[in-house]
Symmetry: C2
Subunit: 303 residues, 2 copies
């Protein structure tokens, strides 16, 4: 079964890692949000791509979920000492990734080519692709005006009240060649438990149409997110945050929906096919188990 | 007594540090070679400026003489792992300097302004200035063709045989405003024990004329350099490397020359005023003592 997974950062990376533990590498393509990417300190930083790659390579910081394991902070500490911007904390190893990616982009290589080269260097076997090689930039519309995503997310720590989102460049951005090929070959698409508004919507906007069965895993459990502002965003947009809200978010796409055991009582409110299971991924084993559950569910609903 | 010191990297930085321990800060300006500067990994790297600043700030690695004390190497290690250029070893703290400098250059600030800001952040009191805000690039002419300085110096480890030097941009580069002002106010100029060919000549070429008494400290002791390829360069250019050769190199400029006790036997070969003293600077105290000797010598020959 050939699978395309759509992923943002931490939650998406964890399920992608579970799928990578379960599927043969040639059967898994992870298409990653690049709407969070930004230029900072002269470097092109791709937080979701890096989180997915670090996680698949076993290099991710297991406590934060982002950044590198065994990281040091001497570069940013010196920049801070010099009075430079210090609100986006980048570790020393992580700086190496951004410096080398920026260097290759300036050489004229595409982001998908560079990502492939990095995956090879890090021993990542499944295919990881940015959603597009053209810049797409998520803009968060708030009560304090429009904010670039990282400005909202990291610098302002999601404090401003959200009223909507824009994805600059999404209308004209083409999906990467690899993404199109993988979608054509796919038996099913898995929407990972990432933020629907700012991690998955940009990918869907760029991919434009998906003519394959889609299942989504709810990133909201018991009305809350494991990490990140998805629940806060739903609430500020006037929607009660719940697995149900997520399913409605994706509704026109979904062949099936996966929600957590904690939300079992919502089961009878869903119209489509659902799987109720443990969706929290604390360990590598949890990731692999959820991946197997999701794949089994896909197999069952396609019959 | 107002002093301008002309300095390259390690040896120049040490004497500059000695002078900084001896003179009131407002009486010392260090004009630093930028002919070794280069663009690498998308960053503007100024090795001599950084060595001088790190040394004056007490941040320099005391065993290598360049780079930072207590340095880590995680950024370059990750770049290397990704297959990026690894021949120029930059430490993590050092990367912060280059990233922040490059960011400010892109903002439109001048190198001298940025250097001043960095000096303030690092608590450096004397004035440190690049020789020019315009790029000057030292090119080493060798039996293997022309090589950019760091290509020759670091990548090829000074192996190619030298036949000459070019200083790209030197003819049109203007001295920094601060350098001109300091030269006008100076009572004397000290040429630090740096490489005459590739550290001091580029500065002299940019400053164009110096109408103040100049003394130079020989970087060659007993026919050898403490560090770096100056002696090898003299030999390859058909000149026997010695303190005498250095004095002849600067001859038209010199009001006085300082050579090491080890070269005392050369004393009677000098036509001008000389000081024979210990010029090796192993400790901070050595640096201050040599600085005092040089200042005293200047005082004596100006009478």
């Amino acid at each position: 079964m050939k699978i395309v997974a759509l992923a943002g950062g931490v939650g998406g990376a964890k399920l992608a890692h579970g799928l990578a533990q379960t599927l043969p590498p040639q059967d898994l393509t992870v298409i990653v949000n690049t709407g969070d990417d930004f230029e900072h300190l002269g470097l092109t930083i791709c937080p979701d791509l890096d989180t997915v790659c670090y996680t698949l390579a076993g290099l991710a910081n297991s406590s934060t979920g982002w950044g590198r394991e065994n990281e040091t902070w001497n570069t940013i500490t010196n920049i801070e000492k010099l009075g430079g911007p210090n609100w986006f904390r980048l570790g020393d190893q992580d700086f190496g990734t951004h410096i080398e990616r920026t260097r290759r982009l300036k050489e004229g290589k595409s982001l998908s080519q560079i990502t492939q080269e990095f995956c090879t260097a890090w021993g990542i076997q499944p295919t990881v692709l940015p959603m597009s090689d053209s810049p797409v930039r998520t803009i968060v519309c708030t009560d304090e005006g429009e904010l670039a995503f990282q400005e909202y997310f990291v610098h302002r720590q999601c404090h401003p009240r959200v009223s909507g989102f824009r994805f600059e460049g999404a209308a004209t951005a083409q999906p990467t060649h690899g993404a199109r090929t993988a979608l054509e070959a796919a038996d099913a698409i898995i929407i990972c438990p990432s933020n629907p508004w700012v991690s998955i919507d940009p990918i869907l906007r760029v991919l434009k149409e998906i003519n394959k069965p889609v299942v989504a895993v709810s990133p909201i459990i018991g009305g809350k997110t494991v990490k990140g502002p998805a629940a806060k965003m739903y609430a500020e947009l006037g929607i009660e945050p719940s697995a149900l809200a997520v399913a409605e978010h994706y509704q026109r796409l979904l062949a099936g929906f996966i929600l957590d055991n904690k939300d079992k009582q919502l089961s009878d409110k869903f119209r489509g096919k659902i799987l109720v299971t443990d969706t929290l991924m604390n360990s590598n084993a949890d990731r692999a188990r959820l991946a197997r559950d999701v794949l089994h569910f896909i197999g069952s609903i396609q019959i």
